[in-house]
């Protein structure tokens, strides 16, 4: 005897209809991504393989390998990205640790001040640094009048200025995920470590730090990748002396009207970012496997 299966077709149709509705909700976004991301990036790849004579050629990539200036540009880009990420960790991690230990209300207030710079435009913040750091700027004036140094120090139109501006702008991207990771850690864990005989320092390195690693990885990755393609801050504060890949792309288009060369640079930047993401994701998975992802 087969049991009666009442309403089976109707119920199955309802199920399918529901799935279709969900798909429909995602459709506009998927179309948008296709139009503004997938197609242009495909176009970018295509253009990068077109030479000056309008036929297929590898000359855009060959130029990058041959000319020393390109090597310098890539070196500068990675150097700035590494240094900015490192400085953000050095400044941001202790700050996140400090904020996470505060009572919730005060901690939230602190987080708002961390996010406050996002409310002003990137350009305004960058020019503000230019004003502060220039030869006759506020920082030099105060430093000299307080007797900290005698001659105005050159802090803009060079690597120093670029790094100061970049770190300032990138800091929230590091602090937020690290803070999130710290907040998610059960405070009793640190008490347990102390109770079991760990000094505050030992407890930090054996318990808290390993547990914040996923957040630290995520934050560092975000900062590093954003740095790789950054334009405004190095352009303004570097004063033309610090040239990153993005700036070379701009000059390839604006000065030389060489879309192929600019596209090839874009492709290299995109591919290196993807490689870094891929390597990092392997690290992050490792973290999860050891239970650190909680």
């Amino acid at each position: 005897m087969v049991a009666a299966r009442i309403n089976e077709t109707g119920l199955r149709r309802d199920e399918r209809l529901e799935q279709l509705k969900l798909f429909g909700l995602g459709l506009p976004a998927m179309l948008l991504i296709l139009v503004i991301l997938v197609i242009p990036v495909g176009w970018l790849f295509y253009v990068s393989f077109i030479g000056a004579d309008g036929t297929f050629s590898l000359e855009n990539y060959e130029r990058m390998l041959k000319r020393k200036s390109y090597a310098r540009i890539f070196q500068t880009t990675f150097e700035i990205s590494f240094l900015t990420t490192g400085l953000c960790i050095l400044i941001g991690y202790p700050l996140a640790y400090f904020i996470s230990g505060l009572p919730t209300r005060i901690a939230n207030l602190c987080l708002i001040t961390v996010l406050l710079p996002f409310w002003t435009s990137l350009l305004v913040r960058t020019y503000a640094w230019l004003v502060l750091l220039q030869k006759r700027g506020l920082v030099n004036d105060w430093g000299i009048s307080l007797g900290l140094w005698d001659e105005p120090i050159k802090m803009v139109h060079n690597m120093t200025g670029t790094l100061i501006g970049m770190v300032h702008i990138m800091l929230p991207f590091l602090i937020l995920p690290v803070y999130g990771a710290m907040r998610a850690i059960d405070r009793d864990l640190m008490k347990a470590a102390a109770n079991l005989g760990a000094s505050p320092k030992r407890a930090f390195w054996t318990v808290l730090f390993p547990l914040t690693l996923p957040g630290l990885f995520a934050g560092s990755l975000m900062v590093f990748i954003l740095c790789l393609g950054f334009f405004v801050t190095p352009a303004v504060l570097g004063g033309g002396k610090v040239i990153m890949v993005s700036m070379q792309i701009v000059s390839n288009i604006e000065l030389f009207v060489n879309w192929g060369a600019a596209s090839a640079l874009g492709v290299v930047l995109l591919v290196s970012t993807m490689v870094i993401l891929w390597i990092a994701s392997r690290f992050l998975n490792l973290e999860k496997m050891t239970g650190g992802g909680h």
Binding site: D186, D188, L189, K191, A192, A193, A194, N195, L196, G197, A198, S199, P200, R202, A203, T206, V207, P210, L211, T290, G291, G292, H294
Partner: protein, 362 residues
């Protein structure tokens, strides 16, 4: 782990006060825990019992007072130098370490040789019946298993004092009952001085050598489970431990009266205007044939009768305006017919069950 390798230490708490703003979390608390004793701090939430435990562990700094482990004054010793084992309500197991990593953690900090760590970790896991679980990840364990790992980690370095903060509150009832007995056996085996915090009065009665009932940052009564139940110091303790109803009574010379009726009982030597008769529901006897000899008889009217399987509850009004609750066994005549609501009954209380207490709340 060999049993009783280290001697247990007594704990001496003297005049400890801790205030948060104007709230006294601990109000001049003094307490002696004997060496090897299982002492429970029992109280409602916010009573100060956890604060006291945190002071013992070193996580809360009191305003003043003295704390001695044996002869050693430790009130200013930071937690990592106190050398006491502790289990937390949330277990506080390190999620990035395996079971063996967790249990071996205190040994690694003490620079114990690697081979010995392995041996002692396995022994501690055997003690809590988790032998062979060393390689498991914490998130692969059930609640009960996590609880056992937490205990193993707290005892593996052979501390002479063990502190436990509501260790069983996250477990379901069956497992909790089982773990109560297990922890009790573990204590008998290892013999370390144990201070246990709970808000569950039955758990406290089951496990403890002595119980300190805490409320408003003070110890209301410190006594053995039996004394606490039979002779509570005041109304708060009587109310918190077990169920009871209270009837106002008055003194008349040497006698004590309820609603003009002289009570057969032992009159306690307590100075109070507010004397109460404490009635435990299971001590009241239902009489269907009217008053009996040699006991206190109360004429009553049943207002509510609740069948509860193994027993029944009967709420009754007394003529003097008081109420009494009776818990009766489901056997004999009660099986065939429980008293009906509105029925007139006689409730009997033997003289030894007629306990008078101080009616104050604190």
């Amino acid at each position: 782990m060999t049993d009783r390798t280290s001697e247990a230490l007594p704990i001496s708490v003297r005049n400890i006060t801790k205030t948060y703003g104007r709230v006294h979390a601990l109000d001049d608390v003094s307490l002696e825990v004997r060496s090897g004793e299982f002492l429970t701090l029992l109280g409602p939430s916010g009573s100060g019992k956890t604060t006291l435990l945190m002071v013992l562990a070193g996580f809360t700094r009191p305003d003043c007072g003295s704390l001695k482990f044996g002869d050693r004054e430790v009130i200013r010793t930071p937690p990592h130098l106190r050398d006491v084992g502790m289990t937390f309500q949330s277990y506080a197991l390190f999620p990035h370490m395996t079971v063996a990593g967790n249990v071996g953690y205190p040994l690694r900090l003490r620079k114990v040789p690697k081979t010995e760590i392995g041996r002692r970790v396995e022994a501690a896991l055997e003690t809590v019946q988790l032998g062979g679980f060393g390689d498991r990840r914490i998130d692969q364990l059930s609640g009960g298993q996590r609880q056992r790992v937490a205990v193993a980690r707290a005892i593996v370095f052979e501390p002479r004092i063990l502190l436990m903060d509501e260790p069983l509150s996250a477990l379901d009832k069956k497992l909790r009952d089982q773990m109560q007995i297990e922890l009790r056996h573990l204590h008998e085996k290892l013999g370390m001085t144990t201070v246990y915090v709970t808000h569950d009065q039955r758990e406290a009665l089951t496990m403890s050598d002595r119980i300190a009932v805490v409320n408003h940052g003070r110890i209301m009564q410190l006594a053995t489970p039996r004394d606490l139940y039979e002779r509570p110091a005041n109304r708060f303790v009587a109310d918190f431990i077990g169920e009871s109803t209270f009837l106002p009574v008055s003194r008349s010379g040497k006698d004590v009266l309820y609603d003009g009726q002289r009570l057969l009982c032992e009159v306690p030597q307590i100075e109070t205007d507010n004397l109460l008769l404490m009635v435990r529901p299971e001590r009241v006897v239902l009489s269907r044939e009217g008053p009996r000899d040699g006991v206190n008889n109360f004429a009553a009217t049943a207002t509510e009768v609740v069948y509860q399987g193994d027993s029944f509850l009967l709420h009754a009004d007394l003529p003097g305006g008081g109420q009494m609750v009776l818990r009766g066994a489901m056997r004999g005549a009660n099986v065939t017919a429980l008293p009906a609501v509105g029925e007139s009954l006689t409730l009997c209380l033997a003289p030894e069950d007629t306990v008078l207490i101080d009616g104050s709340e604190r």
